[in-house]
Symmetry: C2
Subunit: 359 residues, 2 copies
């Protein structure tokens, strides 16, 4: 979206490209408003303006206290949460979802975000929708001190349905080599602190939609008992950024953070093993936190195997921190989280005690 | 694709997620083969293996001779060239297209690629196709000394049609601040050297497909007079990487490269202005190179306005270099290009002399 195309010669009125479904003039008109939206995310490290071929970023290593710079990069999408954005015609939060998801993915290595680029693909650009998406991206970038330095908006007639789009993005962050979290500090006796998620974040939407809208025949405006809000509002809750909690952890004496796992696709079951060293299991007590009501509705409504629930959804825990056993309670309290388990001897998998039952 | 998900607990046979269209086991099985494909792109600067949350890259600034590191990043897709890959069932070249496109986008700033991440989205993962795409990505990355350090494969039932997918990627490269090409060295009297494109690269496919397959009713296996190959082979030609030519230019005495423009969406008309300083025009002689036969077929077959042809397609010129007037011929010869125009006084636009006619 932000770096491409400036028009000089206007296409003729009977533009062949427009007839083929690509409106260059519309593309350029839409993009012309983008600079003002993304510029507030640009600090002193961003060079050049909008319109270059690549986004330019000169990291100030000294100011950031970085000696041995390690760049950490991740790419992601928002999955079929997009379908909820389409159905509710709300497109700002989806951009925040994407940025926050990416921020968390690199934060677990100890990295702070530097810059972000987005990819938006649609059959046809809708200026209003594009502006909403990019406003959301910018909002989340700004909040995280991350520069939105470029992107691509692709008009692909025939690949996407009318009114639909896909959205992906790539983040690059930085961490000093000595502060890199790679799982090597994790050891038996460490405590697992779970930080609460804000809704489903960006995972499990295909299953959630199938159960809620097909099996249970619910509407976006329905308010099932115990949910406290509408299905639409619940499913659009913004993927939470845990960057503020990571900043607090980095500022604590003795560097208590041994590792962290972002609970995304694959849930606790698939994500925790990514930070387990050889000879360790993660032992989780699934009764140690209150599983949000939405999962009870989905689990019961879809007769979903309880273990599968923990492999598809975050079940209310969006981030797991591994900290020294003695500091678990204190860190959980100070970050608004809970102790949900511990590191025990094992072979690199997640065990539940007790086994999760139907919610 | 490369960094996500490791399975520990297998989903039950009556998996609800599978019924909702997402096959976690398939996803994991597919991904397990990816490490071997991407690993050859990993040099000493890549830390950690496949399976982390983010890809880790520690640039060796000393070895690269970088004092003031500027990171240059770009994101892109391949547009509806994908439709040709679907129709021909060939998915390896599309990955090369994407990487080379991105390499060129940052090469024009003087940057060399460091690392790449991909995003592949489909209704359902086809292991064979995914492997072909990633093999293509890896091949192009390897050729450019660029590390493929991560990616995301998204299963999005309901958003993509059966057998289709979208493909995007993000590249990050590096350039020393003093070597950054930002257009400021361009001046009146400079020569424009055009480097030949290899086919349409990744732009204009919606128009090309409409004219060739709808208006002219051609088949992928047809061999129109003068084309010298089939329509399918012509449209699948790989987007050329100009990195080897940039390396030659960087090695030349006196740093003759003043600027460069990658001729992508928007053609010569929209891309050259991005490197023109105030008070300058680019004056192009469209008779100075042989426009490839495919554009004659599209232009005549679709009755496309000749100027629009130069705004939709590269017309045979994939990269334009701005070099000192006196060195134009010599540089063009040494890089297999041609002098196609010059920088003149003006107001930041492209002029053609003579005006392009019907090819």
């Amino acid at each position: 979206m932000t770096t491409k195309k400036k028009s000089s010669v206007k296409p003729s009125k009977q533009s062949s490209y427009a007839n083929a479904g690509v409106d260059v003039a519309l593309g350029n008109r839409v993009k012309s408003g983008i600079g003002a939206i993304v510029r507030p995310t640009h600090g002193a490290e961003v060079l050049g303006g909008i319109g270059g071929f690549g986004g330019l970023f000169q990291p100030n290593f000294r100011k950031r206290g970085i000696k041995d710079a390690v760049l950490v990069s991740s790419v992601d999408g928002v999955g079929t949460k997009l379908k909820i954005a389409f159905a509710t015609n709300r497109h700002e939060t989806i951009g925040q979802d994407l940025v926050n998801h990416c921020i968390n993915d690199i934060a677990v290595t100890g990295a702070r975000p530097l810059f972000f680029l987005d990819y938006i693909a649609a059959a046809k650009l809708e200026p209003r929708i594009l502006r909403q998406i990019i406003t959301g991206l910018s909002k989340a970038c700004k909040a995280a001190g991350c520069a939105l330095i470029g992107g691509e908006t692709a008009q692909m007639p025939g690949l996407y349905s009318e009114g639909e789009y896909d959205l992906a993005g790539a983040i690059t962050g930085i961490v000093d080599r000595k502060d890199l979290l790679d799982g090597s500090r994790v050891k038996v006796g460490d405590t697992l602190v779970g930080l609460p998620a804000n809704g489903l974040h960006t995972n499990g939407y295909s299953l959630a939609r199938k159960v809620l809208f097909e099996l249970l025949d619910l509407k976006l405006t329905d308010r099932p008992a115990g949910l406290g809000t509408t299905i639409g509002a619940e499913l659009l809750k913004v993927h939470r950024s845990y960057l503020p909690e990571f900043e607090k952890l980095h500022a604590m004496k003795g560097k208590p953070l041994h590792a962290a796992a972002h609970i995304t696709g694959g849930g606790l079951i698939d994500n925790l093993p990514r930070i387990l060293p050889r000879g360790c299991n993660a032992l989780i007590n699934p009764l140690s936190w209150r599983v949000p009501a939405i999962y009870g509705i989905i689990g019961k409504g879809g007769h979903v195997d309880p273990l599968e629930m923990y492999q598809v959804f975050n079940m209310g825990i969006g981030m797991v921190l591994v900290v020294p056993g003695k500091q678990g309670d204190e860190i959980a309290r100070s970050l608004g989280g809970r102790v949900i388990g511990e590191i025990v001897k094992g072979n690199g998998v997640v065990r539940f005690d007790p086994e999760p039952g139907c919610q």
